[in-house]
């Protein structure tokens, strides 16, 4: 598949989700149980992007030793828990990552 076709299909599926939200889905279609489970979608899917990007090296092997990303992610998580701020989380993580690779 060409890059453009890939982009268009991804755009289409994103658009259709949004359109179905306001045009097709009605409040009574979801009971409390489905709503409750759907509220866990971010917690279920985002770690699948987060964890491999932190714990795996470029060849896809698990890397624990000399991995500045782990400590930086832990610091970002702690800052995130206390600040509840998106920006503070991102920047504290980047700052501690750079501090580890450039200064330490």
């Amino acid at each position: 598949m060409s890059n453009w076709a890939l982009i268009i299909y991804c755009g289409l599926i994103t658009y259709l989700t949004r359109f179905s939200m306001i045009a097709l889905i009605k409040k009574e279609m979801f009971n409390d149980r489905i709503r409750q489970v759907l509220s866990y979608v971010p917690s279920a899917i985002f770690p699948a992007i987060i964890f491999p990007a932190i714990f795996l090296d470029n060849s896809g092997l698990i890397l624990f030793k000399d991995n500045p990303k782990i400590i930086a992610a832990i610091i970002a998580t702690i800052i995130g828990i206390f600040s509840r701020s998106i920006i503070a989380t991102i920047f504290s993580g980047l700052a501690s990552y750079w501090f580890t690779i450039f200064v330490v």
Binding site: N3, W4, L6, I7, Y9, C10, G11, I13, T14, Y15, T17, R18, F19, S20, M21, I22, A23, I25, K26, K27, M29, R35, Q36, V37, L38, Y40, V41, P42, S43, A44, I45, F46, P47, A48, I49, I50, F51, P52, A53, F55, L56, G60, I62, K69, A72, A73, A76, T77, G80, I81, R84, S85, I86, I87, T89, I90, G93, L94, W98, I101
Partner: protein, 230 residues
């Protein structure tokens, strides 16, 4: 209020939420070039997809060599969280003409939805939808311009900085409100472990979908258990 004033109010209300979007857009622009998309394709992606999480997931899986089918279904999985909003927002938008529903759908991103839902709840004016259009258009302008800036900056940013690390950090930041909830933490850890350990073994690089579904299953089991204990 006139249509324009409601539109303007949408712009003003959504502005504080635009602060985190700026680095997100820059990072996207830089990374898209980095993983091998042309500047034109990168701009096209922001115009056609117009969704931060969708676009970053696309890049991440693309750079890992995932097949198109897996990338598209992962983008669908990421977007499924939006279905939840549908139950809430549709009741405010039900008397809208179809053509407006088609237009507004394009602008219905997290930030615009979050801020306009508050307004739509309190306001019953005929032209209240202009608030959503104003908020959405603001997000659109910020997203397109930061993407463009990222494409230009990308050439100037040294690879040594390891800016790709901003991807997991950005998604981590989107979960800040879930870190304090017990079941969410379990779901996060299980999904993360499945994705990391299965990265090399789950065929077609479908680890994101397998991990997501496992996480949801864990959520279903735990929420059920908590309910029965009550």
């Amino acid at each position: 209020m006139t249509n324009f004033k409601v539109f303007l109010k949408g712009i003003i209300d959504v502005s504080p939420l635009m602060i985190p979007v700026v680095p997100f857009g820059l990072i996207f622009g830089v990374l898209a070039i980095d993983v091998g998309f042309s500047p034109l394709e990168t701009i096209g992606m922001s115009l056609i997809v117009f969704g931060g999480a969708s676009q970053i997931v696309l890049l991440q899986l693309f750079s890992g060599g995932a097949s198109s089918l897996v990338i598209i279904s992962s983008v669908g999985a990421v977007n499924s969280r939006h279905l939840l909003y549908g139950a809430v927002v549709s009741e405010h938008l039900s008397d809208l003409k179809l053509i407006w529903k088609i237009i507004i759908s394009y602008f219905l991103i997290d930030q615009a939805y979050a801020i306009s839902n508050e307004y739509l709840k309190k306001n019953k004016d005929q032209n209240r939808y202009f608030h959503l259009v104003g908020a959405g258009a603001t997000c659109w302008v910020i997203w397109q311009s930061t993407t463009f800036l990222g494409i230009i900056l990308g050439a100037a940013i040294p690879e040594k900085l390891g800016l790709s690390f901003a991807v997991p950090l950005t998604f981590l930041a989107l979960l800040v409100n879930d870190f304090r909830k017990f079941i969410n933490v379990i779901v996060i850890v299980v999904s993360g472990l499945v994705a990391t350990l299965g990265y090399n073994y789950i065929p077609f690089k479908a680890y994101a979908i397998v991990a997501g579904l496992t996480g949801l299953l864990v959520a279903m089991i735990f929420t059920k258990m908590v309910k029965t204990n009550e």
